[in-house]
């Protein structure tokens, strides 16, 4: 038995003479006496094996991760679709990503073509589950399509169909939520950037009006029907996050919090780690539940690398992922495959963070190891603090 390649070590934690070990594959954590890390007792050995901190061979564990990655084992049976219903939006956020993406979409009109694409892809690949992420622009501008499509697939697939909406939260209505709850709505993701002043400055309505109170009122309603993921876009300018969390809890809203770094990401590893950690700590200190892609911008197994994950726009174009809209891989009427595959380099295969990053972005060559090395031990300290 040997120590796993995927272990992250934090020395002298939680106290002198002990080492905290976190495994990036199993996501298990142990704190053991430092002198026993390389020479564990039999009892400890068993526990370390159970946590995959101790493994039969590092080559075998790397091979199993690479094989799982290459064979799409992390998502074998679910078709995942990001469906861009419209490019239009009623907000004018200061950092609007869509302007940066240099993409042009029309409103989705040919719903039948999308349905045919979904049906044929599921059938050809033997997929039994479907998850749609309704996206925009602001997808609620075309909310009738959410109802239409979800009624069809909930009718066909029942609980094997689920959907999520990424929305600015200004157009949520109770009548829709109460219906959607019954036909597969799993969660909504809404961004609120700090307190009223901060948010209104960053995410005003196109009309110039403020959006903060509208969104919080809508979230009070949504809270009765659906799991809320409250996203906060962090940078040096967002303020009043503490106040936001307090105001939400006063309304009885305890969402899952997600942090996103403002794009384009301009920070060096050290600055980025410091920024992320400051907000993780703040959320943790306030007892806010977090589940967020803080360790990587694109997610571990990003949609670009998942062969069952596609982005479809209003022009029925199909994309590899939403990171790069220049890479159209087909349209809904023609067979679509995922042409771009990530080849994991030898450096990646030797990395502690392979099960987190899988070679990062398909389209942008970069390595986040420096950032991971800085941020991971500190995250572990925050999340294990009593």
């Amino acid at each position: 038995m040997v120590l796993s390649q995927f272990n992250v070590y934090v020395d002298n934690y939680p106290q002198a003479g002990y080492t905290m070990i976190y495994n990036t594959l199993s996501k298990k954590i142990m704190c053991i006496r430092s002198d026993l890390v390389k020479n564990p007792s039999d009892t400890l050995k068993v526990k370390m094996q159970e946590a995959s901190i101790l493994v039969p061979s590092t080559q075998a564990e790397v091979n199993s991760v690479v094989s799982a990655f290459e064979n799409n084992e992390f998502n074998p049976d679910e078709l995942r679709i990001v469906l861009i219903l419209t490019r239009k939006c009623n907000c004018q956020c200061v950092y609007c990503y869509e302007d940066q993406q240099n993409a042009s979409f029309s409103d989705l009109v040919d719903v039948d073509a999308v349905l045919r694409f979904i049906d044929s892809t599921m059938s050809e690949h033997g997929l039994t589950k479907l998850r749609i992420l309704f996206y925009g622009g602001e997808p609620l501008i075309k909310k009738e399509l959410i109802t239409q499509i979800s009624e069809i697939y909930y009718g066909k697939l029942s609980s094997n169909y689920r959907f999520t909406i990424i929305t600015n939260g200004t157009l949520l209505e109770e009548t829709d939520l109460s219906l959607w709850e019954k036909i597969g709505l799993e969660s909504i993701k809404v961004t609120v950037d700090g307190n009223r002043i901060s948010h209104n400055k960053r995410r005003p309505l196109k009309s110039g009006s403020e959006s903060y109170d509208v969104i919080l009122n809508n979230l009070s309603i949504a809270n009765k029907y659906v799991h809320i993921i409250l996203n906060i876009v962090i940078d040096e300018e967002v303020t009043g996050v503490k106040e936001l969390i307090t105001q939400l809890s006063e309304r009885g809203i305890y969402p899952e919090y997600a942090l996103s770094l403002r794009e384009p990401c301009i920070w060096k590893p050290k600055e980025k780690a410091s920024l992320v950690l400051s907000y993780v700590k703040l959320l943790h200190d306030m007892g806010a539940y977090q589940s967020t892609k803080i360790a990587i911008e694109h997610g571990a197994i990003c949609m670009g690398k998942d062969r069952n994950y596609f982005v479809v726009d209003g022009n029925n174009r199909v994309y590899q992922c939403n990171a790069n809209f220049q890479f159209v891989i087909g349209n809904t009427e023609r067979p679509v495959y995922k042409p771009y595959k990530k080849t994991l380099s030898d450096v990646c295969k030797k990395c502690t963070y392979l099960p987190v990053c899988y070679g990062d972005c398909l389209f942008e060559k970069k390595c986040e190891k420096k950032y991971f090395d800085l941020v991971t031990p500190e995250l572990l300290k925050i999340y294990t603090a009593k």
Partner: protein, 31 residues
Amino acid sequence: MENKQMENTAEEIVVELNGCGPNAVTGFAAN
């Protein structure tokens, strides 16, 4: 004193990841 000594010689100190989802430390979160 006795407790402290025991703690300092224990093979393992049990810690838990709390306040975070299973993927919060180094994982994937859906969009």
